[in-house]
Amino acid sequence: MRGLICGPKLAACGIVLSVWGVIMLAMLGIFFTVHSAGLIEDVPLTENDFDPNTNSIQKIYELYNKVGYNCFIAAAVYVFVGGFSCCQMKLNKKKEYLVQ
């Protein structure tokens, strides 16, 4: 069968992982773009961001947005992974019907 790379169990794992990834990374992205304080440790801050010079707040917000966009892109990648796993699942189901 052309294009059949994964078996049924690997495809099922892929689907579960990508659904979870899409939902969780999308929500993480939303929380980062809203600048939630609980995620402050996950933002790549450096020491000079704490200096009392002007617009350090803006820099921190920009970093937040950057990480948020990273999360959205990762969620998009997981959409593709999910699509690929769905295709593999369909091919596996077809194969099950053919070989009796």
């Binding site: 990834g21 993480l28 995620l39 440790e41 996950d42 790549p44 990480v67 990762a74 990648v77």
Partner: protein, 845 residues
């Protein structure tokens, strides 16, 4: 209706089965699965029972069926859908089934043997062909060179000996002989060496390997063979060579003396091989057809033979009455099912066409019946985990309906994480939605079966974990700010330079505006950013664990009143339950009261004067009320009062019941003699039974119900009773303290779970999120995959199993030892669907 709370009421019944309709009646009962049969011939050997011949016939049929199933499995034929449920065949139909099976066995055996013979033949011919083809190369090769030149690079010593060349040997008149054949490749070197050592150069061995694998007839595995050709001088050498060939299990074939003969033989072989291929093909087709036809009905036969064997086994348990016309069986039956039992017997009698119907008769007994608790697919999981500790005594309070809520709740207290709870609930929900899927139900994997059986338990655990995750405000170790935090940093630090210069900021709730009110649901999300988060949470979780523990244990003690009231032992209420409850509540209930008092009456304003509850509790026992400032006015007096009550309840618990029972027995001695006179007067067994039941209601008999009927002499052993009660007292009082401390595992496991979750996020997810480079975004994808795998394996599976185990232990030990004895026997009805099938265990079906 109250079957789940207490178990069904059971009775012992006698079935009178006519010999003609016994088989059909038992078949009906097996389909329904109503009753449990008792063995009426316990002293009889299995080989001396009445129906042993029929059972032997059944086992013979099972043997043939096993052979059929193995052949079907070997030929890779799939069995058709197994929805059918045929009834047990009547004895007259058994012969047809037996004949069919025997015929099938004989046919299969013949065809298989023929096939093997043909395959062996084919192998020989193939080997002969190879041999001829390869030895032709040898001859051609030797013919190209000079006949006198010898090619023994591998035999260097020969050159020292006198060379016997071709012409000299011919002059001697020795005849050149050839032996050719095949040998395994692994043996060829040893063969060569042996030949050289024995024949010392009077033989020439040439060999070449066959390219393709041939199937070894003995082992059936593909092996590589080597074709060899030995040319030798003289007959004696020839004998030796033949003996050596025998030793090495060579397949020898005649060597053709001339080229024409060789070509003829090759032609003949080719046609024979072609014919053999066709015949073999036809044989395999026929074999497959036979197996396919058998596979259509093999499942029906398996079920029928299994049912028949079960019925004969049950018939062996029955006994014949004096007239030898009627079988008597003793069964345990739920009282509510007696009408259904009657109808089943009528149905069986009708089917067998008997003139005299079989009937059922209740008989009185003093044996303890087995316990039956009817469950549905939701409650069966919880009932199973209660039964794993011990099946309830007959008509005892069943902890399972309470376990349905308390077990997932205590699990969730230890597991509390919103994200993990959602994943667990979704997984369980998927299993519940697909519970009727055949593939999920019938897998052989033990671990999967365990999870599948407990799908409703896991669903409840997941849902409760979502709730406690919201309360702990913990979702994959991050807090959710749904309602807006109640703490304000701005109100504490008006000057922004203060914030910039300090690494750590302190928020004092006594300053106005800092603490604006409690968070509506759960723990305030600001605690996730606090360094003293664990200090706060530890205190909260430890107190919560003690509160939950005392409530759970008190509930257990209260449940014991149900048992005392049902078994008509009202004295237990005053002499056992009341002291137990007073002891527990006066000491640990008061501790819970102090916890709540401190929470309610001490706030941030006077938190510096808030007393330590532990010190107060210790001082209560040491009667040192003046050492520390009292929590509330009158505390010393109240504490002294509570300690006195608790201390006095111990001797009441220890001595009350034995002394009361002793007084009851010795005081009413003359009453007993009067009753005995009445018993002698009435000689009907029924009335004795009624009187005995009346005695038991009065509580005159021994304390536990499960003893057999011999003790109606009403002996009362004071020492035995006192010892029993002493052990119970010590167990309860010391157990109160240790069990309350045991509930602290609720705190410990939830702390461990939260910390593991935090570590996983910090060490895995944070690395991916903090990636600065442009390619870092693609680094996040595998990092999330790793995070997901580790979450499932460590936090869900390992922590989940751990919390499950600890919640289970809390139920089994701390909760159930307050009221549950669990010494019963489970009711196992005779039902065809519950019988195991040996074929399924072997994986053949």
């Amino acid at each position: 209706m109250c079957s789940l709370l207490r178990g069904e009421e059971m009775c012992l019944a006698q079935l009178f089965l006519q010999s003609g309709s016994a088989y059909d009646c038992i078949s009906e009962l097996g389909e329904l699965g109503l009753v449990e049969f008792r063995d009426l011939n316990p002293s009889v050997n299995a080989f001396q029972r009445k129906y042993v011949n029929e059972i032997k016939k059944c086992e013979e049929m099972e043997r043939i069926l096993g052979y059929l199933l193995r052949e079907i499995k070997k030929a890779d034929i799939s069995l058709p859908e197994r929805d059918v449920n045929p009834v047990a065949p009547l004895p007259k139909h058994v012969m047809t089934i037996m004949e069919q099976l025997q015929r099938l066995e004989v046919e299969l055996g013949e065809v298989t043997r023929n096939k093997e013979k043909l395959q062996k033949n084919l192998l020989e011919l193939t080997e002969y062909t190879h041999m001829l083809r390869i030895t032709r190369n040898f001859v051609q090769r030797t013919a190209e060179r000079e006949p006198l030149q010898v090619q023994y690079e591998e035999f260097p010593f020969l050159e020292k000996d006198t060379v016997m060349d071709y012409s000299s040997m011919q002059r001697l008149g020795a005849k050149l002989g050839f032996i050719s054949g095949l040998i395994h490749r692994v043996k060829i070197e040893a063969f060569e060496r042996m030949l050289w050592r024995v024949c010392k150069g009077y033989t020439i061995l040439s060999y070449a390997e066959i390219d393709e694998y041939l199937e070894d007839p003995d082992t059936g595995e593909p092996t590589k063979s080597v074709v060899f050709l030995i040319s030798y001088w003289g007959d004696q050498i020839g004998q030796k060579v033949k003996k050596i060939c025998d030793c090495y299990h060579c397949h020898l074939y005649p060597y053709p003396s001339s080229n024409e003969e060789r070509n003829d033989v090759v032609e003949g072989l080719r046609t024979r091989i072609q014919d053999l291929h066709t015949v073999l093909h036809r044989t395999e087709d026929y074999l497959r057809q036979v197996l396919i036809k058998a596979s259509e009905s093999v499942y029906t036969w398996v079920v029928q033979v299994k049912k028949m064997k079960a019925i004969y086994y049950i018939l062996n348990l029955c006994s014949f009455d004096v007239t030898n016309k009627c079988l008597i069986a003793e069964v345990w039956c739920p009282i509510n099912d007696i009408p259904m039992l009657r109808r089943a017997l009528e149905e069986g009698s009708r089917k067998s066409g008997a003139t005299v119907p079989s009937f059922v008769n209740r008989i009185p007994t003093t044996d303890t019946p087995p316990t039956l608790i009817r469950t549905n697919k939701f409650t069966s999981g919880f009932q199973n985990i209660v039964d794993a500790y011990g099946v309830g005594t007959y008509r005892e309070v069943n902890p399972a309906p309470f376990t349905i809520i308390t077990f997932p709740f205590l699990f969730a207290v230890m597991f509390g994480d919103l994200g993990h709870g959602i994943i667990m609930a979704v997984f369980a929900f998927w299993m519940v939605l697909y519970e009727n899927d055949r593939k999920l139900k019938n897998t052989r994997n033990e671990i999967w079966n365990t999870f599948f059986e407990g799908r409703y338990i896991i669903l409840m655990m997941g849902l409760f974990s979502i709730y406690t995750g919201l309360i702990y405000n913990d979702c994959f170790s991050k807090s959710l700010n749904i309602f807006g935090s109640g703490w304000s940093v701005k109100a504490m630090y008006k000057d922004i330079n203060d914030i910039r210069e300090n690494r750590v900021l302190m928020l004092d709730p006594n300053v106005t505006g800092v603490f604006r009110g409690p968070y509506p649901l759960g723990i305030d999300p600001i605690w996730n950013l606090a360094t003293n988060r664990l200090t706060f949470l530890n205190s909260y979780k430890m107190k919560m664990s003690v509160i939950l523990g005392v409530i759970h244990m008190s509930f257990g003690v209260v449940l014991s009143t149900y048992n005392h009231l049902y078994f008509r032992k009202k004295y237990n209420l005053y002499l056992v339950f009341l002291p137990e409850l007073l002891f527990l509540l006066c000491l640990f209930g008061y501790l819970v009261f102090m916890i709540f008092y401190k929470w309610l009456f001490f706030s941030a304003k006077n938190s510096r004067q808030a007393p330590s509850i532990l010190i107060h509790f210790i001082n209560m026992f040491l009667m040192q009320g003046d050492a520390v400032q009292p929590l509330y006015p009158g505390q010393t007096g109240l504490q002294v009062f509570l300690v006195v009550i608790a201390v006095f309840s111990v001797p009441v618990l220890l001595l009350g019941k034995p002394i009361y029972l002793y007084w009851l027995h010795n005081g009413s001695h003359h009453l007993r003699m009067y009753r005995g006179y009445e018993r002698v007067r009435r000689n009907s067994e029924e009335e004795v039974y009624l009187m005995r039941a009346h005695d038991m209601e009065e509580g005159n008999s021994h304390s536990d119900l499960s003893s057999s009927g011999e003790h109606h002499t009403e002996e009362f052993d004071f020492a035995d009773e006192f010892l029993h009660q002493a052990i119970h007292t010590i167990e309860f009082c010391l157990g109160c303290i240790s069990n309350t401390a045991s509930y602290l595992r609720l705190w410990a496991l939830s702390l461990a779970h939260a910390q593991l979750s935090e570590v996983l996020w910090a060490m895995v997810m944070r690395i991916g999120l903090r990636m600065d480079t442009t390619l870092g975004v693609f680094f996040l994808v595998p990092v999330f995959g790793l995070f997901a795998v580790l979450t499932v394996s460590i936090l869900l599976v390992m922590e989940g199993l751990s919390a499950f185990l600890h919640a289970l232990r809390l139920h089994w030990v701390e909760f159930q030892n307050k009221f549950y004895s669990g010494t019963g026997v489970k009711f196992s009805p005779f039902s065809f669907s519950l019988l195991p099938s040996s074929f399924e265990n072997d994986g053949l079906l």
